[in-house]
Symmetry: C2
Subunit: 319 residues, 2 copies
């Protein structure tokens, strides 16, 4: 199997020189990307990322991929590295078995230690969460939820994490009580990029009125989704529907049916969105149309806060 | 742009020699494939197909692609060729503008003549149908409907044409009154082949109990579809859901939400399915679970019957 060389490493450092020595390193290792932060007493010292996602790596390629990114930050002593995300999947570096809800998003003693060749590394992976009924799983989002709870310690309510696989999680007394995943982001990517609808959306663009109409349509008649989709193509052919309007209405339709199905999660609840600014803004707008004001938290801030929580939990368990 | 050579031509003839001379040639020219039948007084004399679909051809490549397939059947006199499908789209060989419903599926004087270099060819394209509200289009299915009506002259009811873009058409007094398209087949292909769900379906297989459960779930709670999809992945990870069960339940879910949205079409109606045997069997099974017995018509028989109808209409209009 041909494997890419992961040439695309991007770095930003807060000093002019590469003489940074990290107290510990925070790692968000997803299917497509690897992101690492050198952490010091004052917080982030430097950041680096590459496209060496879990999905592209064989088991013995994880350590070299990580070293390539973080070796510059290592010193003579052992550096703790806390990672979350798909790196802990069965096909990842080392499986970190799911923890079943209800439970705290990150808990003492449940981080999985990975054996490394390089003695300077002490790598720990935070496990994901599972739910038996209805069956569901998450990997990475539990760390963001832990981070959000560290930033808002007394939060009781619902987190919505929009993305490829959007998650809704009910959190109470510091525990994830239940959660549900929606394939909204992946459906949008497949439909706008690879289905017959792509012909009418190739020019990109955005149209807020069309987005709102899509949300409203998706919310009101979610059972019609499979018919509504092709309408976007037909309107492009018959009525000159613009690329911007078609894209925005598709997004609105898919978020609308997500909100319709997730209603038991958000109705009458305190909702906090965790994700990229643009995506959270769309969800906040869609929720506002249902009369709900959602707060927004930055995804990276939550990830870093959650990895710090995981590290604290680890230190406490193994003094 | 690199274009394939369309090497994969398959032929079947009813004679041992290639000395067939066609009275006329029936052509079904879709996005992905080109199929042609040499027609004589007794019906089909020979069949040939290639992968020279509309989607792979520039405008000046249509005639060579057609000649490559049918030249063996031409004689010294002009041979009429009647084509249907995406060949008549704006991006096709020559646009055959949509005819707006309500109207007969194929009508006199509306076939579009294509100018060819080769004087032995007299090519006509059957136009598709359009509907303004809700916006919808079809190309190719109108010919199958015309063919089905020729096979069942007094049919009043609903045709369901399952496929990449499934169509439901209400037909009365020989006219298509209204129709609606569902992206069911394309959604199944994208989700089972390219989404995260593919991991749990890679081994193929089929499970009728899981299909029935999917139909029932999709029909009963269509608004939950976006959440139900990821459940297939989670059940694979947590409960060992088999590839066969996951594939069949996905198919059932998508057909279930189609049936839920298409209910105004089939409820209390006479329904006739037009399509491949396997796909029609799935739809018939799903409809039977709703207490409805649907008849089934072979798609190719309908296409040929419809192209013959179109040819008859053309001859009558231009004696």
């Amino acid at each position: 199997m041909l494997r890419p060389k992961f040439g695309a490493i991007h770095m930003t450092t807060s000093s002019q020189h590469s003489d940074i020595s990290a107290d510990w390193i925070a790692v968000d290792w997803g299917t497509s990307n690897l992101r690492a932060w050198a952490m010091g007493a004052e917080g982030v010292l430097a950041f680096a990322e590459s496209d060496a996602g879990m999905g592209k790596l064989a088991r013995d390629q994880f350590e070299p991929a990580l070293l390539r990114l973080v070796e510059q930050w290592l010193s003579d002593v052992v550096t703790p590295i806390v990672a979350c995300g798909m790196v802990g999947a069965r096909q990842g570096w080392q499986e970190a078995p799911y923890r079943a809800v209800p439970c705290a998003p990150v808990a003492s003693g449940d981080l999985v230690r990975v054996q490394t060749q390089d003695p300077r590394l002490q790598v720990m992976i935070a496990p994901g969460l599972s739910q038996l009924s209805p069956p569901d799983v998450m990997r990475g989002e539990e760390t963001q939820i832990a981070g959000a709870l560290a930033l808002m310690p007394n939060f009781d309510g619902v987190f919505c994490l929009p993305g490829t696989h959007s998650k809704w999680a009910h959190v109470s007394a510091g525990e994830v009580v239940s959660f549900q995943t929606f394939m909204t982001g992946e459906l949008f990517a497949l439909l706008s990029g690879q289905s017959v609808l792509r012909h009418g959306m190739a020019e990109g663009g955005w149209d807020e009125v069309a987005f709102d109409a899509g949300v409203s349509e998706g919310m009101a008649r979610p059972e019609k989704i499979s018919a509504r989709l092709f309408t976007l193509r037909a309107e492009g052919l018959l009525a000159g529907l613009s690329s911007a309007s078609a894209r925005a209405r598709l997004s609105g339709l898919l978020i609308g049916i997500e909100l319709a199905a997730a209603k038991p999660y958000w109705l009458g609840q305190q909702v906090s969105l965790i994700g990229s600014e643009a995506l959270c803004a769309n969800y906040a707008r869609a929720l506002a149309a249902q009369g709900l004001t959602a707060t927004q938290l930055d995804a990276t801030a939550c990830t870093l806060s959650g990895l710090a929580t995981a590290r604290g939990v680890w230190k406490k368990a193994r003094p």
